[in-house]
């Protein structure tokens, strides 16, 4: 066990953790965040995605020691139900969810990609989302929401 400092959603937290603890557990258990979720624990589905230094990473396979000191953003901090972030608003506008469990995966991966590539083509967006799952298969609306967000960023 050792003290690890995580910078999450603009605040610093020093936690006493085994350095190999996956980041997901620190976020959901120690910090009580609901955005990143356990889906597979294998980095395959995207449920646990957070953005670290602008990069979407899979927190279920990322040891806390690897991201100590990095600025980490989770879905919880993007916006609120009353003031949603533009990408969240795009998902509301498109009604792009069924059970909604994968929303963290889809929104966080899409945001990291679009923020760097606002003029991405439909094909590039699909390629960027090719390692994210939604088992309700809300794909059509989610891709439409991502494109809607991209249009706003590109403007």
């Amino acid at each position: 066990m050792s003290n690890i400092t995580l910078k999450v959603n603009g605040a610093s937290h020093t936690l006493d953790l085994d350095p190999s603890t996956p980041l997901l557990y620190a976020l959901s258990d120690d910090l009580g965040l609901n955005g990143p979720k356990f889906g597979c624990g294998l980095g395959q589905c995207g449920s646990c995605t957070v953005i670290a230094r602008g990069q979407a990473i899979r927190s279920c396979i990322t040891p806390v020691e690897a991201v100590a000191g990095y600025e980490i953003t989770t879905l919880d901090a993007l916006g609120t139900p009353d003031k949603p972030h533009p990408i969240q608003q795009a998902f509301i506008d498109e009604q792009a969810a069924q059970c909604g469990f994968c929303l963290n995966a889809v929104i966080m991966n899409a945001k990291a990609f679009i923020d760097k590539n606002p003029k991405a083509s439909a094909e590039q967006i699909e390629h960027a989302m090719s390692n994210v799952l939604c088992r309700c298969f809300t794909h059509v609306r989610m891709l439409a929401a991502i494109k809607r967000y991209a249009q706003g960023v590109a403007r």
Binding site: M1, D18, T21, Y25, S28, D29, G32, L33, N34, G35, K37, F38, G39, C40, G41, L42, Q44, C45, S47, T74, D76, L78, G79, T80, P81, D82, P84, Q88, F91, I92, Q95, A97, Q98, C99, G100, F101, C102, L103, N104, A105, I107, I125, E126, H127, A128, M129, S130, N131, V132, L133, C134, R135, C136, F137, T138, H139, V140, R141, M142, L143
Partner: protein, 799 residues
Amino acid sequence: MKNPTKNSASKLGGATKNNRAGFSRRDFLKQSGALIVSFSVLGAAVEPALAQFVTGGTPGSPNPSQLDSWIAINADGTVTGYTGKSELGQGIVTAQHQLVAEELCVPFDRVELIVCDTDYTPDQGYTSGSQSHPTNFNHANLAQACATAREALVKLAADHLGVPADQLSAADGAVSSKSDPSKKVSYADLIGNKKFNLTLDKNAKRKPASEWTILGTPVKRPDMPAMVTARFEYVHNIRRPGMLHGQVVRPPTVGATVVNVNDASVAKMPGVVKVVVKKNFVGVVAEKPYQALQAASELKVDWSAGSGLPKFDDFYEHLRTQEPRRDTLLVNSKDVDQSLAQSGATVVKATYHHPYQMHGSMGSSCAVADVQNGKATLWSATQGVWFMRSTAAMVLGMKPEDVHVIFTRGSGCYGINGADAVSYDAAILSQAVGKPVRIQLTRKDEMAWENYGNAIVADERAVLDAQGNIVAWDHESWVPVLGSRPGRNRPGNVITGLLVGFEPEEFAARTPAPEPNRYNNNSNAIPSYVAGNIGGKKQGTGNIASERVLVHNVVSPFWTGPLRSPERLQNTFSHESFMDEIAAHAKADPVAFRLKHLSNPRLSEMVTNAAKAANWDARPSPKPASRKNGVASGRGVSCVAYEGDNGYSAMVAEVEVDQNTGKVTVKRMVVSVDCGPISNPDGLRQQTEGGTLQGMSRALGEEVTWDDQKVTSVDWASYHSLPLGFDIPKIEVVLNNRPDEEATGAGELAITIVAAAIANAIFDATGARIRQVPFTPERVKAALREVAAQRASHHATTA
């Protein structure tokens, strides 16, 4: 628990709110006397005739024949609805929310719904089988409760205002005089926080669809803002004071039993609280979830050898020879053998194979249990809270009345994922430590032990006459089953129940099958094109008079359970593929050929509408002069009357087949749906789009695999779900509103017909018939080789 966890309809999802300030719901329903508003018009006694208008009913559950079990008018002017049909992501809670607002004439945002809670909501059984829409949106249950309440409110207002009821109208949560709007009284003033004390009135009139302003409109889901901002409380996010974390250790192979558990192997690991062993159930409880996970992986358990599994490669042949069997004849005109043997008859035959597939929820299943002081509270994503109550009580050795189950939304389940099993896991672990325990299964434990959608092998035979009409249809299938939903008293129907010593429902062998004496569509085992003649009455959707449908159930080596469109999807794949094969034999256009053999106008209209919207290229398949190599394109059609009469749908698929690689790319899907009056067109579109793509994923890639001891589909690398970024076809949904018909199922229509539409399009493109799901490139290439060989031999014989 005095505060029910509100589900789905509230803006913050699982936010806790006392639904009726100062009252416990259970106490409220038991109250009598001062608060009761009495009516002279309607008696309070339960009328036996009402029995057909209510569902469910469990001792201790709110009486479904009583209006107060469904609707409460609150003193602040809001209305609370209580429903036993839960949100699985399909949007049904939004639609029920619309229903309450519409029938009671209150604004949408003044309605809240309490969903599936054993202390608060009527027992409506499982949320399953495309039954929520027909159950709660017709002339019983929630819809009828709303209509009863509205009429009762108008009658109360008539007394209150001194105006005859027929001169009053309800709007915006108040009743007013049609001629003098100043004569007005609000629902809250009439009955706020008081009981109606009425039985559901079967004669109460539902608002006609022509007057709807909320129902039937694309109302947005109220849970969406909370979901996209991570404020929505899934069962995965439930946190209780003093909560510990569990993990289970499942057997390494199917049938393995515990020989020894070495508690000491983890005793010194940080945070470990307890190792829990109950027969073959093994679990650990720790202070933190990652500690529990690590301890579960380190715990030394000796297991016996497993019972072994049938060979994966010849499993379908294995099914045919399995004993014991349970044989069921669904239709039998007794002349099918004669039709098949007729001299000169053209007999078409084919066999279809459908694999086990899994629910494979995106989030592995999770539950939180608090079992202490003789009481248990479960936060569970089960689709049947009342059945969870009675079966969890059996697992815990408690009385059902001491178990409180609160439905809390989970990851989309599509039938029965691990939600029931993990609820037992949480309960057992919590009971062992006397503290609240949360457990979320590992991906492998979720996938290796869930109740899979059934594998099916189906033989189809048909007889064509000289004019190209089908005159006989013979279907025989083998369907493996084991366990299912636990129901009221079968915890052994899922893995955890078995591990702690409960048996799955016993297999009732029966051979030969008795003659059918009543019509049972039996999960669309009956093809759409046969007459369905039982006792001289045609109850099917087709006109083929010579008909036989025989189903053999055999014992499955794996748990099985309802997976979205259970067996309906598998059966429809074989029927609709076969119909295409017969049409090709008859050199007939697949759409016209279907219409010729259908007798049900709603189903026929769906076929016509889908074909029209797709600009259907009417001609026989395969496509003449289709390319023999490279990329070939084609179109296919399929249709279903879901369960014979619970929704109608047809689909046209357009595909491209790369004949060098065997890769199938679906370019366009046109789907027509008829589920009666449309409650929320956007929700229905969404269900249809999602069902179409989920059906594609299942048709193209999904298959449970195993070795000689265990399931090997244990993660997303070994079980293939189409990701967000695959080549998504253009999906066009054609909605058909039927305001004058009964509401039917909706969520399982599209998915049922996808595989056949794609297989038929592959055939159209290439002349190759693929009869086994999933249509992997290898299987497509094998089918292409077969057709090439046929062409070569045909060429050789005709040359």
